[in-house]
Symmetry: D2
Subunit: 137 residues, 4 copies
């Protein structure tokens, strides 16, 4: 999968007590960005019908700057690497253009593909590896 | 089902741009209250395994006062009536005690029980009616 | 404000127990669509700085068909009318194209513009009325 | 602050495509648990009025088992340590009782207290340290 860029504009319902995007809301922003990245390579509904699920097992997220109303956030996502039974997606949430780009947040998202019947991670091999591997296709 | 009362305390992540509980968040509060009311009478997981789903088909909600951080909201829910193929739950969101109770919001929630395979509403009869009918049991 | 059309694709995190978009989630879809419609006519952050808030006071929503994973939903929003101190936005959630368009949900959203200091609705007049009135500009 | 235990029951609207609690939803569960823990020691609304905000700067969360409908999750939270300008809360999401307790998820949540006007972290000293320090009071 190629690097994927998508934008989300901060709305009033994304904010919390301090007028900043709430920490849990970022995880939805990141999840939306991952779905958009993945849908070009893998049809998760078809995977599900074959008994395979794409499951997040670990997220590390740094909140570096507060995002506020009307901010346009660019989310840059890419598969960083695939291991034998897991992989890792890196995602950055950026704001601004040109020399003024600031990093609002960044995250590492570790995932597995599970056999839904057993809950066990399957090997990142064959068709699955082809669909999820980092690169240009 | 009897009238059911539950409380939710307003937290920072429930708020929006204006420091008020956001309109969509109320629907989660109301849904949580309905689950708590229903679980004493009906096991929706068991219903699902038998091919039956509890589905909301219409909500009318009035937002009457703004709820803010640390408000303790009491949600009062009851089945108002059952018809042939649908029913209606009334829910009130209250704040304060004794003479000082204020109505923050109120809603009418129309629901059906569907045959999941066909998507069609089934008759509110027999065991289903017994489980959902308003009253003391 | 003109009729405004926006699309949202249904993702795994929008679904519930039955694999359908959950009723509370629709309110976020509708809110996102309203923000997109309004931002061309009114800057709610600037309004807030002047002490004015855009507040929803009533929503009536009909859930007509279940939306499932990968559905592309088109949300059509327009200001239906403005009264003296309130207005109403109509929103439809549609699926499909051409002759096959289905209505997934529709909603009537009544709103007011409030003086944030007093919580009272202000008159839909002058600049406010110009910004929110239905029409081509 | 003492270790704090709270329970949340998994409802249909917490689930996703696979019938499991969605990864972003856990962050709301954890946030709710932190609010309940903190409110005994610190009034965040009063802090806000004095210009101080409680802000999460990093979360690491491991999703170890899938939580499903009707699971009763116990969330155990405690302040693990306070440093000079930040602190860390550990949270576990458990399921089951006695010998059968399973870890569903665990998280490390790094936080700061910021001067809202400047966005800078203040020292974890004096009253702030007293309110947030781990321990029995």
């Amino acid at each position: 999968m190629k690097e994927y860029r998508t934008t989300i504009k901060v709305r009033g319902y994304h904010l919390d007590l301090y007028g900043h995007v709430n920490n849990a809301r970022y995880l939805e922003f990141l999840e939306e960005a991952r779905w958009r990245m993945i849908e070009g390579s893998a049809n998760l509904q078809a995977w599900k019908e074959r008994g395979l699920g794409f499951v997040v097992v670990k997220i590390t997220i740094n909140y570096r700057r507060a995002a506020v109303l009307d901010d346009v956030l660019e989310i840059v996502s890419h598969v960083h690497h695939l291991g034998g039974r897991s992989g890792m997606i890196k995602q950055e949430v950026l704001r601004g253009e040109g020399d003024a780009v600031e990093r609002v947040a960044d995250a590492e998202v570790t995932f597995v593909v599970v056999d839904i019947a057993t809950g066990r991670a399957v090997a990142m091999a064959g068709e699955i590896r082809d669909a999820l591997a980092p690169g240009e296709s």
